[in-house]
């Protein structure tokens, strides 16, 4: 079975590295990007199986990224958003734009893994 490809967009290098390490240990192929612009460029080439993105990022926010994926690229790829700002407006607008799941910081890597796994099952195995 081929490895699932995850796109992880997180501007905090340390946390990004930690999550990448944890996800890779669980058998996923992780593409790491540190800002919204790089993520957009990456998405022009290929759409991954799951997108995990921080909401607060340089150039483009996670919500803009969701909008880009859903409206410009017309992709239904599962999107999981991460944010320290757990204000209702951000979460609601993210879901309205078409995000599939939301996880607030501090992030438990095990929880993130469980959510990724659930999204993959829901999207690709049904």
């Amino acid at each position: 079975m081929p490895k699932r490809r995850l796109l992880l967009a997180e501007d905090d290098h340390m946390l990004a590295s930690l999550l990448k390490y944890r996800l890779e240990r669980d058998g996923y192929e992780v593409i790491l990007e540190y800002d919204g612009k790089a993520v957009k460029e990456k998405l022009q080439g290929e759409i991954p199986d799951v997108v995990i993105s921080d909401i607060m990022m340089p150039y483009f926010s996670g919500i803009e990224l969701v909008d880009h994926l859903r409206n410009s690229l017309k992709s239904d790829v599962p999107i999981i958003l991460i944010s320290a700002a757990s204000n209702d407006e951000n979460i609601v607008s993210a879901f309205e734009m078409g995000a599939n799941d939301f996880i607030s910081k501090p992030v438990s890597p095990s929880e993130l893994l469980a959510r990724v796994s659930r999204e993959i099952k829901r999207h690709y195995c049904t």
Binding site: H13, M14, L18, Y21
Partner: protein
């Protein structure tokens, strides 16, 4: 000073100074450039190091003994490598910074492993060293690091900073003490000698809230503290953890010297609804500041009952601060709604006394609703103490006490309050007396009025007031007013007023002779001049301009019934009004004559027979009985073929104008053609 007196400046010196400042400027820019670059390089190096260390830390954090052999080998190699690095102080700083930053972003098991790694790498020793620094920011950083990384061993070291003279260190130490051990809050409250700001209190409560399975101590123990901030914080904690067992202590704190403590205690009392505190609150009320008084009144409004109303009335009466008085009144209304009604800038419509009576009756009723009941003497005291916005007089209260209504069905106690056997509608009560006055049923001054009282003051009032008084005395038709009117007729210097008084006396005497006949009334006991709708409006204001505007309106919309009212004004008012009144009378009479002279008017009064004439000023609308209809409707009937329209005898009638016979004949032929066409 002359120009020749200005000292000479050598050009060479100026050049030298220019050169000096240029060099200094260049040096400054070089210095800034150098250090900026140095800092950038350092930051870049740190960033690179962090990126280099990131996978190593991740490896450490997510290492498991169940990993494959290759991973186990990699882990051991990394451990050796990192041990070597740890000898370097800069590396230690970077790695401890990485771990410190990372703990904010991760949760769960990863966070636990991170703390373990921090201790395994013995990075906490660096933090301990920071505590020994002489720089406050380094100590504060060390305390923060140790508390965030949950280094329990640091508790003893940190807690000694609780009474540090430097506030930043002290605050950091307070948070760390509370965060590291569950009994840290006890130690803090026991030992702190400094103030704890409100913000700090909230931070400490937040820190306590993060502790898992935390069992708070009984914070009432710290209500005895000598430090008022500790007492305040203890009160806050008691409230936060809902510890209701401290009721007597909190009640006692209402007597505290410090206003802040008092207010906090009162707030606590309100939140916990300690009704036992109400007597204490009332006792301390008089010896407190206005802020505390308002807090006490707030508490009484939440906890008080009807038996607290006398106290509140006393407050409203005795207090000099209008804020406290206002609060006391609103508290009375909170306990017994609508006891005190608005009184400021309220226009007295003549029911002032009734309103007072009503308020007293309501108060008396409410006081007697009290479950425990009160003795009659106490009730009297209460009423005497009452100082409602409408000042209550003792006589008013006696009025209620003296009245006895026999109630055979109920054997009432003597001290029971008077409860009327009937109920008056509030509006009736309010305006009853004014209505009676208006209808001339009672004297405008009430039963006890003695006109001789006014004689003394009559001479002091102005001309217009005198004129009004004479007019009103005459209007009242009360023979008890005769002495005053006679006094005016005898002593008034102004001939006009004397004449008015004389006329009024005559009028009253005539009425007294023949009470059945009242030439100025229409049989309903209402004087003719008062039947005009303009009468109350006119007497509502004293302004001449407003009265002139009103008279203009009267001219525009008035009728014959307003003439008596206008005539009554002729003898009482100012020159411009007099002029306008005369004009109005002339115009109204003229219109009346016009109406009489119209051919359709059947009777002079015409009230019963012709409704259009009842209006007086309105034009009579001629009403035809020949069932003529508009031309458009006629044509519509024709178009639709409705029978009534085609009847020849009715063809002549629908028009309210004359048409030639040829027109109808032509129309008839057209109609016949149309009908034939439809039938075909």
């Amino acid at each position: 000073m002359t120009i020749s007196g200005i000292p000479k400046i050598h050009t060479n010196l100026l050049w030298d100074l220019t050169l000096l400042f240029a060099i200094l400027g260049i040096l400054y820019f070089v210095f800034v450039f150098f250090f900026r670059n140095k800092l950038s390089r350092l930051a870049l190096r740190r960033k690179n190091k962090r990126e280099e260390l990131a996978p190593i830390i991740s490896n450490f954090l997510f290492h498991s003994p169940e990993d494959s052999k290759a991973e186990q080998k990699e882990y051991v190699e990394l451990k050796i490598e990192i041990r070597e690095y740890l000898g370097d102080q800069r590396f230690r700083k970077i790695i401890s910074q990485i771990l410190f930053d990372l703990q904010k972003d991760v949760a769960g098991g990863t966070r636990e492993r991170l703390f373990k790694l921090y201790k395994e790498l013995e990075l906490h020793h660096d933090a301990f060293q920071k505590l020994e620094s002489w720089r406050w920011e380094t100590i504060a950083q060390g305390i923060l690091e140790l508390s965030e990384m949950e280094v329990g061993e640091s508790y003893q070291l940190i807690r000694k900073f609780i009474n540090d003279r430097r506030s930043v260190i002290r605050k950091q130490a307070e948070l760390a003490t509370v965060s590291l051990r569950s009994d840290g809050i006890d130690y803090l409250l026991d030992t702190t000698r400094h103030s704890i700001s409100e913000w700090q209190q909230l931070k400490l409560i937040e820190t306590l809230g993060k502790r898992t399975n935390y069992r708070p101590p009984q914070f009432k123990a710290w209500l005895l503290s000598q430090n008022k901030d500790v007492v305040l914080f203890a009160l806050r904690l008691i409230k936060h953890y809902n510890q209701k067992g401290a009721e007597p202590s909190i009640n006692e704190l209402v007597k505290h010297k410090n206003d802040e403590v008092r207010i906090a205690a009162i707030q606590c009392i309100m939140d916990f609804h300690f009704q036992s505190a109400v007597p204490v609150l009332k006792k301390v009320f008089w010896n407190t500041s206005n802020t505390v008084k308002i807090s006490i009144l707030n508490a009484i409004s939440a906890l008080g009952s009807n038996k607290d109303i006398p106290f509140l009335k006393e407050v409203a009466k005795k207090e000099s601060s209008f804020i406290v008085v206002g609060k006391a009144q609103s508290t009375i209304n909170a306990i017994a709604p609508e006891t005190i009604l608005p009184s400021k800038d309220i226009i007295d419509l003549g029911g002032g006394k009734d309103r007072k009576d009503k308020a007293i009756a309501q108060n008396t009723e409410e006081l007697n609703l009290n479950e425990e009941g009160q003795e009659a003497t106490q009730s009297e005291e209460i009423e005497k103490e009452t100082d409602l916005p409408e000042a209550i007089e003792v006589e008013d209260i006696e009025f209620f006490d003296e009245v006895e209504i026999p109630e055979p069905n109920k054997a009432k106690k003597i001290d029971e309050p008077f409860v009327p056997a009937f109920e008056l509608h509030p509006i009736e009560q309010e305006y009853g007396s004014s209505m009676d006055e208006l209808l001339g049923l009672v004297s405008s001054h009430g039963e006890d009025f003695d006109s001789s009282d006014l004689m003394g003051t009559y001479d002091k009032i102005s001309y217009s007031e005198k004129s009004k008084l004479v007019s009103k005395l005459g209007d009242s038709k009360d023979d008890r007013e005769l002495p005053l009117l006679e006094y005016i007729a005898a002593n008034e210097t102004d001939s006009e007023l004397r004449f008015q008084a004389f006329k009024k006396i005559q009028s009253i005497q005539e009425d007294a002779k023949d009470p059945g006949k009242d030439p100025s009334t229409d049989g309903f006991n209402v004087p003719l001049e008062q039947q005009s709708i303009f009468y109350p409006l006119y007497h509502y204001t004293d302004e001449i301009d407003a009265k002139l505007i009103l008279l203009d309106e009267l001219i525009a919309v008035g009728d014959g019934r307003d003439v008596p009212f206008l005539q009554s004004l002729l003898s009482t008012e100012e020159a411009p009004i007099m002029k306008k009144v005369k004009k109005a009378i002339a115009l109204l009479k003229e219109e009346k004559n016009d109406l009489k002279s119209r051919p359709n008017s059947k009777k002079e009064d015409g009230v019963e027979d012709n409704p259009t004439e009842q209006v007086g000023m309105e034009e009579e609308i001629p009403f035809e009985k020949d069932e003529r209809i508009p031309m458009e409707l006629f044509l519509l009937y024709e178009e639709l073929g409705i029978e009534s329209a085609s009847e020849p005898e009715k063809k002549t009638s629908p028009f309210d104008f004359e048409l030639s016979q040829e027109f109808f004949l032509e129309m008839d032929s057209n109609l016949t053609t149309n009908q034939n066409g439809r039938n075909e």
